[in-house]
């Protein structure tokens, strides 16, 4: 019967149905693993669900959300996360673009450099975090040894409340930039050659070509990278969990780490869910703002 219906439709209609059929597996998975857990988290955020009392869940209205306002740890974690994001996003984008421009040149060993810059991305973040913890060790770490060569006194890195987050930022940029480099590289290679040739004829300098041909040509790629880096930066979790356990003095406790601790270590699923809902809303709003900014640029 269904088949008959399709036949009656126009060609576009049939194509649409085929399209949605292809989408179906993804939609089913999305519902099971995403929409349903999100809905559950939203429900839990209105309850006093405590892991050790799974049979005694009561609705408590917005009490969990009210608690967020007086939670100093939440505020601290939010500040840390914002600090991380605001620094990581521009640094990582600039470095990724710089690397992409470098490896796009016709240098010797081009393939080697591409592989080298990309290799940190392939490694497990946990492994990278552990390795960098060793490198950051104030007494025996590689980085202080290197600084010593230039006569710079040993730094305390992860054990100093002032330096810990910056140390994590440096390590995160090193680990992640290779991925965006590859995307930028693909973008660079999509810019038509004749634009550069035209610019050459006009007598444009290298910098002018970069400014007026390369950058506009990368706009869409840049936006994609900008948004994805921002979202991923907000999700900071593994690095502080492995490297500092959120310390020293809470200086590297990220929002997601705080939510994780409250939910799993302190068993307060209700409150953790409430924070997760707020977190999702924040990321949502930031993404919308980012999209609006792009739109204006296009206009």
């Amino acid at each position: 019967m269904a088949r008959k219906k399709f036949r009656l439709k126009t060609r576009e209609g049939r194509e649409a149905v085929t399209g949605y059929l292809f989408l179906l597996p993804a939609l089913i998975l999305l519902t099971i693993f995403l929409l349903y857990p999100m809905a559950t988290a939203f429900y839990y955020s209105l309850t006093d669900f405590y892991i050790l009392r799974p049979n005694d869940i009561n609705l408590v209205g917005l009490a969990n959300f009210q608690m967020i306002f007086s939670d100093l740890e939440f505020r601290n974690a939010l500040t840390n996360t914002l600090y991380f994001t605001i620094l990581v996003v521009p640094i990582q984008i600039s470095i990724a673009l710089g690397l992409a421009l470098l490896v796009n040149k016709n240098l010797k060993f081009k393939i080697f450099f591409r592989t080298a810059y990309f290799s940190p991305v392939v490694m497990s973040l946990v492994v990278v975090s552990i390795l960098w913890t060793f490198m950051y060790n104030p007494n025996e770490g590689l980085i202080n040894e290197l600084l010593g060569v230039f006569g710079i006194p040993p730094q305390s890195f992860l054990t100093s409340p002032d330096q810990a987050m910056n140390s994590i930022i440096a390590m995160s940029v090193w680990q992640g930039a290779g991925f965006q480099m590859m995307i930028f590289l693909a973008g660079l290679q999509n810019i038509p050659k004749h634009l550069y040739e035209a610019a050459d004829i006009d007598g444009a300098s290298t910098f002018q070509k970069f400014l007026h041909v390369t950058l506009p040509g990368l706009r869409n790629v840049s936006m994609f990278i900008f948004i994805t880096i921002t979202i991923a930066a907000f999700k900071l979790l593994v690095q502080p969990m492995i490297m500092t356990q959120g310390g020293p003095l809470g200086s590297t406790k990220s929002l997601v780490y705080h939510i994780y601790e409250v939910g799993f270590n302190y068993r307060d699923v209700g409150y953790a869910s409430a924070m997760a809902v707020v977190f999702t809303l924040m990321v949502f709003i930031i993404t919308i703002i980012q999209r609006l900014v792009v739109k204006e640029e296009r206009g």
Partner: protein
């Protein structure tokens, strides 16, 4: 419509995270700094597997028991399996299905327990960490076992194990092994410097004596003391560090467990942490020691767990043990994994039998031999030769006489983090009182849940 769809991808990434409350194992597509192969945080790695048991269920057994045990080391697990097999063989009518769950020292084991708790399929008997007994007892997940245990049998367990297993005056769990922290020392360095180490509890150093020696032993090339700060800000700091407070006549929570106000931020606690702070300020202790600092001779003394004896031996170090230094009264760290019977068990009698089997003299002594951890029974201390003389006699005396269990409160997960944060702040040389006051607020908020 098309526009709206564009939102699904970025939104969903945020959503996965939010929905799982911080579990980022699922999203792998758009990882700016997380890279492709991310998400393997220790807590996500919960490997479970059935025990490869020599004894198979024959199908005639009346009672089948499920049991969960943690895995930290292979030898230890092999020993558990051996003991479970022996139990199966000795009891025709019972068959035990044991499941081994990785315990990485992080939260993977408790994550697994939490998950099955919510799903409502807990085993009959489970291993759990000592300080968590109170939470499980308070939530009616564990069954009180006082009635099952004879007085004679009960008195064979060291006090700290009974203390750790009790909540509101009832006994909920029994452990096979204890743990302690002696003050290790490098005999060669002591000989060189002409320092004599105390050999019994009576001669234990006071804080002042300890500080003096530690300073004397600190040179350009080595630290006087290693406190294993490289273990991170976690349970270790409470396990190793809380005796400083108890020893100073203080506590981190009131005896009835209702408040930490005036305890965690009380003058005795403050004084104890000021003492810890001074150890770091004097340069006696390293805030970031290498993994093998003591074993390699780069620290003259160490406050470490029983496992340090094993690694020191492996490193061919000429080492000894001394008692934990004290202020007003002698206190030493204590506590380890223990067993409990769940209230959901349909065969509580048999379940207790199993738990008792895993903590009987044979199990306790065998486990101690395999792991190097001190036994939980006095009789085992008496029958094992190694505990009759130095250095292990120190550990025997500590476990039997000065061991102090960590507080039995359902708010323990928050309380231990609060203390660890404060201890770490002291190590960093921070102003301690404000940190303590702030941590007390957290603990008080958590306690409200249980005080109503």
């Amino acid at each position: 419509m098309k526009k709206a769809f564009k939102w699904v991808v970025p939104m969903s990434l945020a959503g996965i995270l939010a929905a799982c409350g911080g579990n980022d194992a699922d999203s792998s597509t758009e990882e700016a700094q997380n890279g492709g192969d991310e998400g393997d945080t220790p807590s996500d790695v919960v490997e479970t597997g059935d025990v490869d048991q020599g004894v198979e269920a024959s199908g005639d057994e009346d009672v089948v028991l499920d049991m969960w045990i943690h895995q930290t080391g292979e030898d230890e697990t092999d020993f558990y399996i051996e003991r479970i097999d022996a139990f199966n063989e000795a009891n025709d009518h019972i068959h035990v299905n044991a499941e081994i769950i990785i315990d990485d020292g992080g939260s993977s084991y408790s994550d697994a327990v939490n998950a099955s708790l919510v799903a409502g399929n807990l085993p009959d008997v489970l291993a759990l960490d000592g300080p968590y007994v109170a939470s499980f007892a308070e939530a009616d997940i564990l069954m009180a076992v006082d009635d099952y245990l004879s007085d004679e049998d009960r008195s064979d367990f060291v006090d700290s194990i009974l203390e750790q297993g009790s909540y509101n005056g009832e006994l909920y769990s029994l452990g096979a092994m204890e743990a302690s922290v002696p003050l290790y020392y490098n005999k060669d360095i002591f000989e060189e410097e002409g320092i004599e180490a105390p050999e019994t509890l009576e001669d234990a150093w006071t804080w002042d004596e300890f500080m003096e020696v530690a300073q004397e032993l600190t040179t350009e090339d080595r630290y006087g003391l290693n406190m294993f700060m490289n273990y991170g800000v976690g349970e270790w700091l409470t396990f190793m560090g809380a005796p400083f407070v108890w020893s100073n006549n203080g506590d981190i929570i009131s005896e009835d467990g209702t408040t930490s106000e005036g305890y965690l931020n009380g003058p005795e606690t403050l004084e104890a942490l000021e003492y810890v702070k001074s150890l770091f300020e004097e340069g006696v202790v390293d805030l970031t020691p290498g993994e093998m600092q003591f074993e390699e001779g780069n620290a003259a003394m160490a406050l470490g767990g029983p496992w340090i004896a094993v690694s020191a031996e492996d490193a061919d170090l000429n080492w000894g043990m001394m008692p934990y230094p004290y202020s007003e009264q002698m206190k030493s760290p204590s506590g380890s994994m223990a067993y409990g019977v769940t209230t959901s068990s349909e065969h509580p009698d048999e379940a207790f039998e199993l738990m008792h089997w895993m903590t009987n003299e044979e199990s306790v002594e065998g486990l101690s031999e395999v792991t190097g951890m001190p036994p939980a029974r006095i009789s085992a201390f008496e029958s094992m030769d190694k505990y009759q003389e130095l250095p292990w006699s120190i550990m025997r005396e500590q476990v039997i006489e000065t061991a102090h269990a960590r507080p039995q409160t359902p708010a323990y997960p928050v309380l231990t983090d609060a203390f660890a944060q404060a201890f770490h702040a002291a190590a960093l040389g921070e102003d301690i009182q404000p940190v303590l006051d702030q941590q007390v607020q957290r603990v008080e908020r958590e306690l409200q849940r249980f005080n109503d």
